[in-house]
């Protein structure tokens, strides 16, 4: 109940923060909000652009929900997205054939690469007790470095060593689109399916119940005979696979090539989405839509109102802060729970 209330609360706080910032920047807040809204949903093309940002965000958030429920801070999701993109790019570059063959292969390649990359923090955690936050941050750097290496090295354009990206993939490897819409129904379908699957998995399945048990109290779960390490590894792998699909969507559905910043920060944003959603699958889609809309729509602030583009950055920064504060409060109040200890008073 508490969480259900706090998601809208956080959204309201975020909107409030945006208004304050716009006001401070001398931009007419209502007008600016209208511009952002229209920029995100005004035309079918813009809706497409928004969904294009929404897709990887939802995929990453859905994956993160699993690791969060398993009690893991899978910060390395950024690297898993990048690795997924690399796997997809590899497929797209090396397999020639009709879309019906190549596209599934890129999706599988992305999922496998993402999952494999996620197994590294899983292994470090279960074998050597290295906390996944540390390994995740490091592995994200490594994944980005691998992407950069491939882009300026083995996969560079002939005669060029630029981090601006590889050659464009063969269009048959692109995620298929309908008409002029940039967002691919395959990507959107994957995102929706991911949320549904995670929802069913965590809410209704025995597997999800055990994941939650491990996440909430690994010691007790172990005592109850649950092979906790196996579940941790499974959670990592699932999140990695979904992140890898997010990377695939970024590579073959959006950029149509591999670029260094392929993960687009959607992993970090995904963490915020999950925190804001109060770890509930159903809230992921709308909250991710909100973030995607802000991100896509705020481009219009520069285009239409001539507002310094850094304002969009400030808005997003403020959003992050608001989310963290509200999210932190939520985590805090959840942690306080009904058990009161002697230190509570101080």
């Amino acid at each position: 109940m508490k969480r259900l209330r706090s998601a809208p609360l956080a959204l309201a706080a975020a909107l409030g923060a945006i208004v304050v910032i716009l006001f401070a920047a001398g931009a007419p807040p209502l007008e600016a909000m209208r511009v952002i809204f229209e920029g995100a949903f005004g035309t079918t093309d813009r809706l497409g652009a928004t969904l294009m940002a929404w897709t990887p965000l939802v995929l990453a958030a859905a994956g993160l929900l699993i690791t969060f429920q398993a009690g893991l801070w899978n910060i390395g999701v950024e690297g898993q997205i990048a690795m997924g993109a690399i796997g997809a790019a590899w497929m797209a570059r090396s397999v020639e054939g009709p879309s019906l063959v190549v596209v599934p292969l890129t999706l599988i390649g992305g999922a496998v690469f993402g999952a494999a990359w996620a197994l590294i923090p899983a292994w470090l955690r279960t074998r050597f007790r290295v906390h996944e936050i540390f390994s995740g941050v490091a592995l994200s750097f490594v994944a980005a470095a691998i992407a950069v290496y491939l882009i300026i090295g083995p996969w560079s354009r002939t005669g060029v060593a630029s981090t601006s990206g590889t050659d464009i993939f063969d269009p048959r490897a692109w995620l298929p689109t309908i008409g002029s819409w940039r967002a691919s129904p395959v990507g959107i379908g994957a995102a929706v399916a991911a949320v549904a699957a995670v929802l069913v998995l965590l809410r209704g399945s025995r597997f999800g119940l055990r994941i939650r048990a491990v996440g909430r109290n690994a010691e007790s779960a172990h005592l109850l005979g649950i092979p906790t390490q196996r579940y941790l590894v499974a959670a990592f792998a699932m999140c990695g696979a979904l992140a890898g699909i997010a990377g695939t969507v970024q590579a073959t559905g959006f950029h149509h090539k591999l670029v260094p910043s392929i993960s687009g920060g959607y992993g970090f944003l995904g963490v915020l989405v999950v925190l804001l959603a109060g770890f509930r699958a159903l809230w992921i889609a709308p909250i991710a839509l909100f973030f995607a809309a802000i991100q896509v729509g705020s481009t219009q602030l520069s285009l239409r109102l001539g507002i310094d583009s850094s304002l969009a950055g400030v808005i997003q920064g403020a959003l992050v802060l608001v989310v963290l504060i509200v999210g932190g409060f939520q985590v805090y109040s959840a942690a306080r729970g009904p058990v009161v200890t002697g230190e509570g008073e101080a």
């Binding site: 399945s205 597997f207 109290n217 005979g225 009161v340």
Partner: protein, 486 residues
Amino acid sequence: MSLVLRNIHKHYGSVRANDGVDLEIAPGELHGLLGENGAGKSTLMKVVSGFIAADSGSIEFDGAPLGVASPRVALEHGIGMLHQDPLVFRPFSVLDNFLLGSAGGVLVDRKGGRSSLAEMAARYGFDFDPDADARSLTVGERQQLEITRLLWRGARVLILDEPTTGISEPQRVKLFAVLRQLAAERLIVIFVSHKLEEVEALCHRVTVMSRGRVVGRRELPTPRHDLVRLMFGDITLGGARPEVTLGDPALSLRGVAARTRGAPLHADLTVRRGEVLGLAGLEGSGQRTFLRLCAGLDPVGSGTIVIGGHDLAGKPYRRFLDAGVHYIPAGRLEEGLIAGLSVAEHFELVGPNRSFMVDRGAADTLAAERIAEFSIKGEAATTAEALSGGNQQRLLMAMAPDHPVLLLMEHPTRGLDLGSAQWVWDRMLRSRAGGTAIVFASSDLEELQRYSDRIAVFYEGRIIAVIPASTATSSSLGLLIGGVVS
């Protein structure tokens, strides 16, 4: 200066934890609060000390109503509470923990604090090293530090929720002396406990609660059976322990040494089916290591652990489970149950796993059956942490397989009311009749003597004696526990 509670209500969903409680305590009074598990004692005390807000009702102290529910405000009014759960200390020194939350500004007067601590400790006969790491303190010492701190902060009402679990006998004696001294200084002391003899020894008056309501008040002394009847109605306590014929060895340890550091445990021991082995000793003398070794939870250094005919030493925990070993630890919420998961989900976790999906309807039905069978005060959807201590223990018991080969328990009745404790033992003895071997650790000598066939006494990590319970007396056990081997 008296404390007056009027018509306190506190409901959790459909549970009426406090359902119109009135209570009046005069200064200088040592007041006992009794009641079965889940009666609402802790809830009431948390309301008084500001940790939770009542749904309705009023609290007056010294003629003034207490407003906002917050521990800080309550303490400013002179009401301090020592909680039932073990005290958690921050990784600071004793002095810093003492100074935590002290009044006045940002700057902490450490020098003044140091002398206050020394002065207060001297006054109540405690002995602290202000610079020691507070986490190194024993439960009893933590309690002493917290009491000192509350008194220093000006507490005139001191609430102690089951303060005698987990502390040593000398510490208990010391505690009682201090509480009597405080009462003599015209403070109010509220003492929550399940141990009738403690209440009888200490308190002037008692209030008995049941199902959120006050069901009786008595001046002490009053006959024991009177109190018991108030709490539980008519029950027979200490029913006879049925005799059973012992079967094959269920557990047999040969030259077992623990690999955990600082645990020089060595054990050669056989427990047969139908036998009850009690583990005695001061807290932390190796009983826990022993139980965890037998459960397959701690690594074995050397030796063999034969259970059901197979040597399981060094085998994974799963093998122990499959061999019919079941372990119920003391820290119910820390290492037994999973806070946040409901009762039904707990059963689902240990149930036979057939389908991929959980059948909610079936799970709720199963939970309802178990709840009824084990008389758990709660519902299928109640989360584990919302159960009272006694009901958490019942849930743990309900999750155990029906007839394990070997049942290992740590403090099976700690924090349980008499009725619940009785019930727990009834269940265990029934399993035993079915051939289960039981090994349990307890700090309650009477419990050890009453239910064990043999008692293994632990001292500084080693088993120093294994004696038949029938020959053990409280005094002989007491000596052994202290390390005195005749």
